[in-house]
Symmetry: C2
């Protein structure tokens, strides 16, 4: 189980529209992943800005990269995303186990 600190870091990384979109694109891309250049074409932002965001995502363990000749291919790290989901759906331990007490 992730620590709270670790999870907070990962969530913070996801908490930026550009980075969230990157992850969403990578989820859609699935096994094929996307190169940095392809992501840049989708987002239309400067390369240096994109690179900065990508390195955040790598740091947060949310994506992983593999060099493929001159291009760097990015992939979602499902394990990390699932870890966050687990943490957020931890409502099995909520009070008297009564999920969804919402109005």
């Amino acid at each position: 189980m992730m620590t709270t600190e670790e999870a907070a870091v990962a969530l913070a990384k996801l908490g930026h529209p550009v980075r969230l979109k990157i992850v969403q694109y990578l989820v859609q891309a699935g096994e094929a992943g996307l190169s940095v250049g392809e992501i840049q074409a989708l987002l239309e932002i400067p390369g240096s800005t994109l690179s900065h965001h990508i390195s955040h995502l790598v740091t947060g363990g949310l994506i992983r990269q593999e060099r493929e000749s001159r291009t760097l291919r990015c992939f979602v790290n499902y394990k990390q995303v699932e870890g966050l989901v687990e943490l957020l759906t931890d409502k099995c331990c909520a009070g008297i186990d009564l999920p969804k007490a919402e109005a």
Copy 2:
């Protein structure tokens, strides 16, 4: 379905250790919720700092508050948390298009 912007805001709110802990405590507390004072006792941080974080969580739609005489009781907003989980587990649409292609 939440917009990306909305989701990014909510994730950013969760992406702070203090705020994540607040939400975790509230999930544990379940229906009973926790008053601001009770949360403060658990976290041992200044009231003004806590208040600031709580207002972030309210803004992000992650928690809701109800006044109960002099105390303010906080509750997790499961709907919002589930919205984030949905968005993060959207990997059904990864790569080769499986059903649930989009609504």
